[in-house]
Assembly symmetry: C2
Homo-oligomer: 175 residues x 2
C-alpha cells in the first residue's frame, strides 16, 4: 500500500524539530514519502535525506508551494486522503477501512490552523484519542493501525547503518 | 497498571516542544504522571497542568533534580524500569512481559546523551523499530503496546472540555 504524508504550514523556527520528527516517523513507520508546505526548510530536507541514505529503503522528501493544490492533485490522480485531527472519528474505527484500500493514501498532518477546506477535501478525518497530545504520536499510531503493526518488522534495503538489538548497550553495524 | 514517564536532560530552548509533546502523550495514552530532569521549565509544567485540568483525569507533572536519583528511588520502592532506546530489544517482543507486571513501571525517555548507567539500571531497554525517528512516537507506541490499544478508549473524568468525534468539522463540549 502506497502512503505519503503531507505536513501543512511548516514554520522554520518554531516547527523544525516537530516536522523533522514527522518526516522520520513517516519513513520509519512505512510511508513512502514526506511532503511539506509552509516555509521552505533546507535543514529539514537534508536531515531526512541523510537518514534515508544512511539507514536504507526508498523515501522521498519534497516541498509543495501550496498544500491545497497538492491535495487536489492527489485526489485528481485517484488517491484518497485521511486528515489527522483531534476532532475526527476514532482511528480504531477508521483504520479497518483504510487497510482495505487499493488506492494510494495521503495522510494530512495539520499545522497551526487548518482551514475548513482540508476537512472537506479529506475522505476521512481521523482522531488518535480525543485528547490534545502530538501530531508526531498521532502519525505514528495512524501508520501503525494501517499496517497492523507489521511496520515494526519492516526491512530497509541498502542501508549503510543498521542496529543490532541488544539487552544492554549499543551495537551498530556499518556496511 | 501504574505507569510514570521520566524524560532526561530537558533543555529549555531546544527541547521545549518535544518534551511538552512527551508529557501530553504520557497523559493521553494512559500514564499517571510525567517527571522531567535537566533545565527547569515552568512553561512546560503550566501547559501540562492546564491540559490536565481542562481535559480531565488525574495526571501529575514533576521536576526531578537528578534523574539517576529518581530512577534509583523508583527501583528501591519496588518499581520496574523500561528505557526507550533505538538500541534496545523490539517493543513487540518486550511488551507481552510488561503487560503482565504487577508493579509500577517507569518509562525512561532519553535526552541528548544517555549514560551507560541508565542502560544498566533499566530492567528492559526497548526499541520501537531500529530506525531513527522520534521519542514522542516511541513513547506513544510503547504505551499503546502495554495497554493493548485500550488507551484509545480511556475516559478522563471531571473534564471541562471534551471533543465529540465528527466526520467533518469540530465539536467541543464545554462543561
Amino acid at each position: 500500500m502506497r502512503i505519503k504524508v503531507v505536513r501543512l504550514s511548516h514554520r522554520l523556527f518554531r516547527d523544525q524539530r516537530i516536522t523533522t520528527h514527522c518526516a522520520l516517523v513517516s519513513r520509519a513507520f512505512g510511508a513512502d514519502g514526506f511532503v511539506y508546505s509552509g516555509e521552505r526548510d533546507t535543514k529539514l530536507e537534508a536531515t531526512t535525506r541523510k537518514v534515508a541514505s544512511n539507514w536504507g529503503g526508498r523515501f522521498s522528501c519534497e516541498y509543495a508551494d501550496s498544500y491545497m493544490r497538492f491535495i487536489k492533485a492527489w485526489k485528481k490522480n485517484g488517491g484518497l486522503v485521511a486528515h489527522l485531527t483531534v476532532y475526527g472519528l476514532p482511528v480504531q474505527k477508521v483504520a479497518p477501512k483504510l487497510r482495505k484500500l487499493r488506492k494510494p493514501l495521503l495522510l494530512v498532518v495539520g499545522g497551526e490552523k487548518v482551514p475548513p477546506e482540508v476537512y472537506q477535501a479529506a475522505d476521512w478525518n481521523v482522531a488518535v484519542t480525543g485528547q490534545p497530545h502530538s501530531e508526531v504520536a498521532a502519525l505514528a499510531m495512524m501508520l501503525d493501525r494501517i499496517f497492523s503493526g507489521r511496520e515494526l518488522e519492516k526491512k530497509f534495503p541498502k542501508a549503510r547503518l543498521a542496529i543490532v538489538p541488544q539487552e544492554r548497550g549499543k551495537r551498530v553495524i556499518r556496511k
